[in-house]
């Protein structure tokens, strides 16, 4: 067995020199394809971020918009991109689907970052401007917008490689040009060196984009008072005041009602063709109308595979990330060396590397597990590490002075402080893992819901496509909301998260 894996690895992993040689030989096509992908990503990036910033501003200025639309934004945050890919291909012609995927991939992160930032203005600063006679206009432009810059910049920074990822995924669903299209072609033709060369080019492009945005936004990050923003963590939609929305048990129902409403509205407003675009009623009929039994069986079988694929990779990726975070926290010297690399690797669109991973690890559960656990590993590591650092120094000192050692501090103090962050990491990981599993199923194993959706789209079985997508979105949102409820239970019945309680008990603010 291991010999088999080894020989497969040797065949699928070329010498670095061969990759570089291929990179040079393909430089013309790589540049052309890179330009195509970059253009799609850039247009999507502008649309997605522009819409997010305008909406963020509107949310803060007009409270009722926020109350009604925020749950859609939170629901959208847990939407696996890969699920909406085939639907967007159906809806848009030309490059539209790729641009739309790139836009969607940056929209929710930037919106949540903008909201977090706009609301982060200290009440005292708002009061000062108000007492000086400033109106809500002045407060918005003089206090809230400058205060939001660090968080917004963090969102813009995270968005650069993400937009690239969106465009590449869009290309997987059908394109003649672009790095994504070239990568899939090279993989299916088993051109080992070329697959590696394209993946390398993609990684470098993502790294350069992230680096450029990081440099451009560095001045704003420096005046941030929020550590999470400074290290570039994604905004946590469940944090702070937005928590109650997510945690209310009506979250799913409300989101579903809004989703169905918007769905019908879009069909009506854009005169969408009923042949391609199914209504919620069609989906219900698909499950419970004539032939519903066979439909349910088919979808349930595919979903079962996908759940196993997601679960195995999620467990492996999060488990490894937690262990790595704990090890790094106990060895500060190693951490200083490793973390910059981790932050860089986090910017590489791993899901986009699925064809390469399939080439190296074959077309079975192993490849899917590698994709999903890689997708989960880096963000979880970064978030859990921040959580382990969130423990106040006094609490650790106390245990040390009482005769404890570093590992006891880790178990008794730092692990507890990291727990809310672990939930944040898990909530972020679930949609990403599901998306990774679906893409890997389609590009590598040819099984599960990922394969079913794409096959359905290519065979014009649009009712299967819509029904499957709806179920996957509900699943992702359900797990997301479920984790919010587990978190609440773990913290003891609806009391404010102790992450906030800890902030309030900081020196100088207690009593």
């Amino acid at each position: 067995m291991s010999a088999l894996v080894w020989s497969a690895l040797v065949r699928a992993v070329p010498a670095p020199a061969a990759v570089l040689h291929q990179l040079w030989a393909d430089r013309a096509t790589l540049t052309a394809n890179g330009a195509v992908t970059l253009r799609e990503a850039a247009v999507g990036y502008l649309w997605g971020n522009g819409a997010a910033l305008v909406m963020g501003g509107a949310f803060v200025r007009v409270p009722w918009i926020e109350r009604s639309l925020l749950r859609i934004a939170v629901a959208g945050y847990c939407l696996p991109l890969v699920v909406v890919g085939p639907i967007l291909v159906v809806l848009f012609s030309g490059d539209g689907a790729k641009v739309a995927l790139a836009a969607l991939s940056v929209f929710f992160t930037t919106l949540l970052c903008a909201l977090q930032g706009l609301k982060a203005a200290p009440p005292a600063s708002v009061d000062v401007v108000r007492s000086l006679g400033g109106g809500s206009q002045t407060i918005f432009w003089r206090v809230r917008v400058p205060g939001a810059l660090p968080a917004v910049c963090a969102g813009l920074r995270i968005g650069a490689p993400t937009a690239l990822l969106g465009a590449v995924i869009g290309e997987y669903f059908g394109a003649n040009d672009g790095l994504g299209a070239a990568l899939v072609q090279a993989q299916s033709a088993y051109e080992v060196a070329r697959t590696w060369a394209i993946a390398l080019a993609l990684a470098v492009l993502a790294g350069v984009l992230y680096g450029a945005l990081a440099l451009a936004t560095a001045p704003a990050a420096r005046w941030s008072m929020d550590d999470a923003v400074a290290v570039g963590l994604p905004a946590d939609p469940a944090a702070g005041e937005r928590g109650p929305i997510l945690r209310s048990s009506g979250f799913l129902l409300w989101s579903a009602a809004w989703g169905i409403g918007l769905w019908y509205l879009a069909i009506f407003a854009f005169h969408l063709d009923h042949y391609f675009v199914k209504t919620p009623l069609d989906v219900a009929r698909y499950f419970f109308g004539p032939g519903g039994g066979a439909n349910r069986t088919e979808l349930a079988g595919a979903l079962g595979t996908t759940l196993v694929d997601t679960g195995v990779g999620l467990a492996a990726g999060m488990g490894l990330a937690i262990a790595a975070a704990a090890l790094l926290a106990l060895r500060p010297g190693v951490e200083a060396v490793v973390m910059p690399a981790v932050v860089f690797l986090r910017s590489i669109p791993i899901v986009a590397m699925t064809p390469l991973i399939a080439l190296v690890f074959g077309r079975g559960l192993l490849a899917v597990t590698v994709v999903v656990s890689l997708v989960v590993f880096f963000p979880t590591l970064v978030i859990v590490r921040s959580g382990l650092q969130a423990a106040p120094r006094a609490a650790g000192d106390l245990v040390l002075a009482m005769g404890g050692n570093a590992s006891l501090v880790m178990r008794k103090v730092r692990a507890g402080y990291a727990l809310p962050w672990l939930f944040t990491a898990a909530r972020n990981a679930v949609p990403a893992a599901l998306g990774g599993a679906i893409l890997a199923e389609w590009l590598a194993t040819g099984a599960g819901a990922g394969n079913l959706l794409v096959v359905a789209a290519s065979e014009s079985r649009f009712d299967t496509l819509w029904a499957g997508s709806v179920v996957l979105v509900l699943l992702s949102g359900g797990v997301y909301a479920g984790l919010g409820m587990v978190e609440r239970a773990a913290q003891g019945g609806g009391r404010p998260s102790y992450r906030r309680a800890a902030l309030l008990s900081a020196p100088g603010r207690s009593g």
């Binding site: 040390l400 002075a401 404890g404 507890g416 309680a501 207690s510 009593g511």
Partner: protein
């Protein structure tokens, strides 16, 4: 018998390339079972000294001992109790469970009723199940002090434990701390910014000077114990306070013109 002892202790930090001496050849000797207060302005090195005695940091030069033993030995025997300005209660544990932490660190099961009798000593018997978020700042510090006393420490190190509390709460806490301390009289070192707190609680107050003139002056406080609110009105109390205040500002060139 000697309680806390520091011999020519130095601690140098390197901050942004510049060397800063928080302590430079510092000497200290306190009797066993005495209550010593360390007072001085910010940056004079008093918290650094406390961290050294707590075994949280090591001196760059010099030696420290507690009851004639190396600090590390007492730490390993779980005989050091500490409390900081940040009560540092674990927010997911109840008041009782936070006190139990001390026993867990020591690897010893608390005797029957040990935790509840500790809570009783700090006047929180009714709050054993409360989470820190449900307690006031003063109550949190009471839990922190009960935790520091849990394993019956030989030495008690307090770094501004009441620094974040309002003045009235602080006075009440001082009286309670004295009462608890009189029970067992562990060798105690209190770091504080408050002259009144230092005089009220301590047998001896050490005034640490600020750089560049690092003078440490010890003043004995001959007030009768137990001290009470009435003590605060005595001439001896005020005389000690005045003397300390003078010493604190002694290295200022023009005290009259100082703009606080």
């Amino acid at each position: 018998m000697i309680g806390l002892e520091a011999r020519h202790v130095s601690r140098r930090f390197v901050l942004g390339g510049a060397a800063v001496d928080a302590l430079d050849g510092f000497d200290l000797e306190t009797p066993r079972g005495s209550f010593t207060a360390l007072i001085g302005r910010s940056g004079c090195g008093k918290s650094t000294l406390l961290r050294l005695f707590a075994g949280l940091d090591r001196p760059t030069a010099g030696e420290l001992s507690i009851h004639g033993r190396p600090v590390e030995e007492l730490r390993a025997r779980h005989k050091i109790g500490v409390a900081f300005q940040d009560a540092a209660l674990l927010p997911w544990r109840s008041a009782a469970a936070n006190i139990r932490l001390a026993f867990e660190v020591a690897g010893a099961a608390p005797g029957p009723g040990a935790v509840s009798s500790l809570l009783e000593r700090v006047g929180l018997a009714r709050f054993s199940g409360a989470r820190p978020a449900q307690l006031s700042g003063g109550m949190r510090q009471r839990v922190a002090i009960a935790r520091a006393l849990a394993t019956d420490p030989e030495v008690l190190l307090l770094d501004e434990p009441f620094g974040a509390l309002d003045d009235l709460t602080r006075q009440r806490m001082n009286a309670e701390l004295q009462r608890i301390w009189l029970d067992r009289s562990p060798t105690t070192l209190l770091v504080t910014h408050s002259v009144a707190e230092a005089v009220f609680l301590a047998d001896r107050v050490i005034v640490m000077g600020s750089p560049p003139r690092r003078l440490a002056v010890a003043i004995d406080i001959p007030l009768e114990r137990p001290r009470s609110r009435a003590t605060l009105r005595t001439e001896a109390f005020h005389a000690a306070c005045d003397r300390l205040t003078e010493l604190l500002f002694a290295d200022e060139s023009d005290p009259g013109g100082a703009n606080p």
